[in-house]
Symmetry: C2
Subunit: 475 residues, 2 copies
């Protein structure tokens, strides 16, 4: 990492955790040189980088200032809750996913990081070694709750984060998708009420539809990501049984909710005796020094089922996820026994050797740096070329950019148009109900900005401009 | 294979396909020597082996005769259909499976062949090679319907059997269990009627319960395995939407239904416009020269969804199954996308190299021979030591023996008692409703009859004897 990137990151952390308020003045270049020990050029590069990201702005002869909270621009606030008794997002998601399977398509709409970044030669070497051992054939691991050693390792990772966890708290699943689905199935019956964020991973909508649940949505909070007031109101108004939330590196928007808010959510869950299914698949893809805490950390009364996987860190093809089951271990194992039985035993064995080695942590460190770098490059490219009528929401984790287009631009039409150019984006209708405006897109920026990707982004920018102009022309 | 085994097998085939009727006289030893070209000793050994298996009996000075049809003894005939609006087999299966997970337990109740038999060094070598290639990380295969090359190979295996099949007809799943579940989910809605065999793989009961289906059962036919009259009557009486049947190496009983009956089933399905989910996971584990035909072969009008996997041939840990989807490809892919996304891409890649090689066919040949041998050894041991009040039903495929105990012996109590000795068997209540008698057990005889297994069988025989005596004592 360049020194300027390092400095920019530490300043960004101060801005994002609220230490440096909006519109307060940054230390002058000279002061910063003295404070940091970096050269003037390094400090200047760092400030310009932050400016390019929209985190600070400069006034001539006055220096640099902290920008208004990005999220303030990003999230329009609709503080009402919504009841959506019938969900019909399924077919759309299916068609979308099928359309983007083609290898010739530039996968800017993908939910997975560029597979080149996930490739880990050491893990593959370990898998190859295991493939030579007869033990990988044994049946003992191929039943719920999964390989004991692997569960111990996952449990110890929770414990290291201050969440006392035992191997018996963990059930290994075929990816986080199965973890989330089994959890919801274990906790609900058809007709039950479930609470979702207004924008959320489409898997939540699909599961709700499939299980015949009534969905209440609450809007995102413009500054904090999560709206406690709406949440409390919804819990008071509806007999909600389960919430399904993303609070770290939210998909599709990208925000991470503060610990204070998480603490309050936990309190409300306990007060209302409502369970939470926490989707935390991006937990390892933070950019700062600290892994964000999951809701499970604040969960003193066992209302949280925490779901994650290795799909976003070592590859979706591994199909190994897990759920921290709380008191629902039996119910979830039971459902798994009826549906898929187990995840690949070979890969489970291999992970047991790979995870505790320094290789995994090293891999994660590199992955985070690469994702941060690529996201910044994407951001700068879009910021430089995209119409100023669009707003780009940059959060320092993960690999998504959430882009707000002018209200008259329909992201689904844009998606269809780009598909003709063999480019996929994720339109907002995948994540939110049709009753809301659909002028948002999610862009996967985990890729190197090579010529192919740059051409795709240029085409995206061009199509957006056309859509904007089309409205202006027809006025 | 010994010559005597070869001869015994060809005679057994003649008996089982009905060419040699019950109580008809076998060729004399001398005649058989002339016919077969084998030595007198070989012929004698073969006849004695068949006698040990209960397939023939000898009369002093008269020679050998074909025994009464085994199935006639085995399957009491209850030609009425049954409506079971509410199923509660789930919890019992769960407790059963959990209790038998312990590695210290002798797994005579397991549904999977002894893992030593499944181990294939060549496959593992191929997996190890693939684990060194970056390509296994690519995302293109990790979406339904699964790896194209693998689907082509599976399709060609159908085509070789005379079932014209295209790669697009196949969806790869996480084992056959997922294939069966997704098929049922795609075809039914809560409240629909489904038809099952009276005894069937517990996964069918679990799926029916989970999806809220009404279950109609038909009894097995004492001679033919499948009762066409009951089947026709049930289709006429109830608005059945889907059947879920096993017709090859039936689990738990073991019979394989004749082609003539399969043809008639296909006709009735078409007449009544009813779909069939065919569970054919033991299709490769036949002992004769010909792989039994699946219902799919007789299905001219696309009413059959044929489900199978590699779990019973190369290991349950592989978690690769498939469904021949007929016209339901989209519906099934759609459901898979919502639940598990895909099976392990690495293993899919490896199978693409392994399956078309001669290694897989060689592996299958060895596996069949070993299973046949082990099953015969088990059968002979049980026949020699088990109370004559029990009936053992031997069919020449797979690795299950279905044992009928005297009616007053409850297989569930026997199961619990044996568990204290660290021995698991499969009691009939796993496969049939509680309203029926539960005096059957399924024994997995895929193991080498080593000391540990022999002790377990001796303990089983002893406990059965005690249970029989207990009744006699209390009279």
């Amino acid at each position: 990492m360049y020194k300027s990137e390092q400095l920019a990151r530490s300043i960004r952390a101060l801005i994002e955790n609220g230490s440096w308020q909006a519109h307060s003045k940054l230390p002058s270049l000279r002061e910063q040189v003295q404070r940091s020990g970096f050269s003037l050029m390094t400090v200047l590069n760092a400030y310009q980088e932050l400016e390019a990201q929209g985190l600070v702005y400069s006034k001539e002869k006055s220096g640099y200032f902290v920008a208004g909270n990005l999220a303030t621009q990003a999230l329009a606030h609709h503080p009402e809750t919504k009841l959506n008794a019938h969900i019909e997002i399924n077919s759309q998601v299916f068609n979308y996913l099928k359309a983007t399977q083609d290898e010739e398509i530039v996968p800017l709409g993908s939910a997975f990081p560029c597979s080149d970044l996930l490739y880990n030669a050491k893990l593959m070497q370990i898998i190859a070694q295991h493939a030579k051992r007869k033990r990988s054939y044994l049946n003992s691991d191929s039943m719920p709750p999964g390989n004991l050693e692997l569960r111990k390792i996952i449990a110890s990772r929770y414990s290291l984060q201050g969440i006392p966890t035992d191997a018996n708290d963990i059930v290994i699943t075929s990816g986080a998708l199965e973890a989330l689905n089994l959890s919801l199935q274990a906790l609900t019956q058809a007709g039950d009420y479930i609470l979702l964020q207004q924008n959320i991973f489409y898997g939540a909508w699909q599961a709700a539809e499939r299980l015949g649940l009534k969905v209440i949505t609450i809007p995102e909070h413009p500054q904090h990501g999560f709206d406690l007031v709406s949440f409390d109101a919804a819990l008071n108004k509806y007999p909600i049984k389960v919430c399904w939330l993303m609070l770290n590196s939210h998909n599709p928007i990208g925000f991470t909710v503060s610990n204070e808010i998480k603490f309050q959510i936990a309190k409300l869950l306990h007060e209302h005796q409502v369970y939470l299914i926490e989707d935390d698949v991006y937990q390892e893809l933070y950019y700062g020094a600290q892994k964000p805490l999951p809701m499970k950390y604040f969960d003193q009364h066992n209302y949280v089922l925490h779901c994650s996987s290795f799909s976003k860190t070592i590859g979706m093809g591994t199909r190994i996820g897990w759920v921290h089951v709380g008191k629902f271990s039996n119910a979830i194992q039971h459902l798994q026994m009826m549906s898929t039985l187990s995840a690949s035993t070979l890969v489970q064995h291999a992970l047991v050797d790979f995870l505790p080695s320094h290789h995994y942590e090293k891999h994660l460190r590199q992955l985070r740096l690469q994702l941060e770098h690529n996201k910044q490059v994407f951001y700068q490219f879009l910021k430089a070329h995209l119409s100023t009528q669009c707003e780009i929401y940059y959060y320092s984790s993960g690999y998504f950019l959430w882009v707000k287009l002018p209200e008259h631009v329909d992201s689904m039409s844009l998606y269809r148009q780009l598909l003709e150019y063999k480019i996929a984006i994720a339109p907002s209708s995948l994540f939110r109900l049709n009753t809301l405006t659909q002028n948002f897109i999610r862009i996967n920026c985990s890729f190197n900005l090579n010529e192919r990707i740059q051409q795709a982004l240029a085409q995206l920018i061009c199509c957006i401009q056309q859509a904007i102009n089309h409205r202006s022309d027809s006025r």
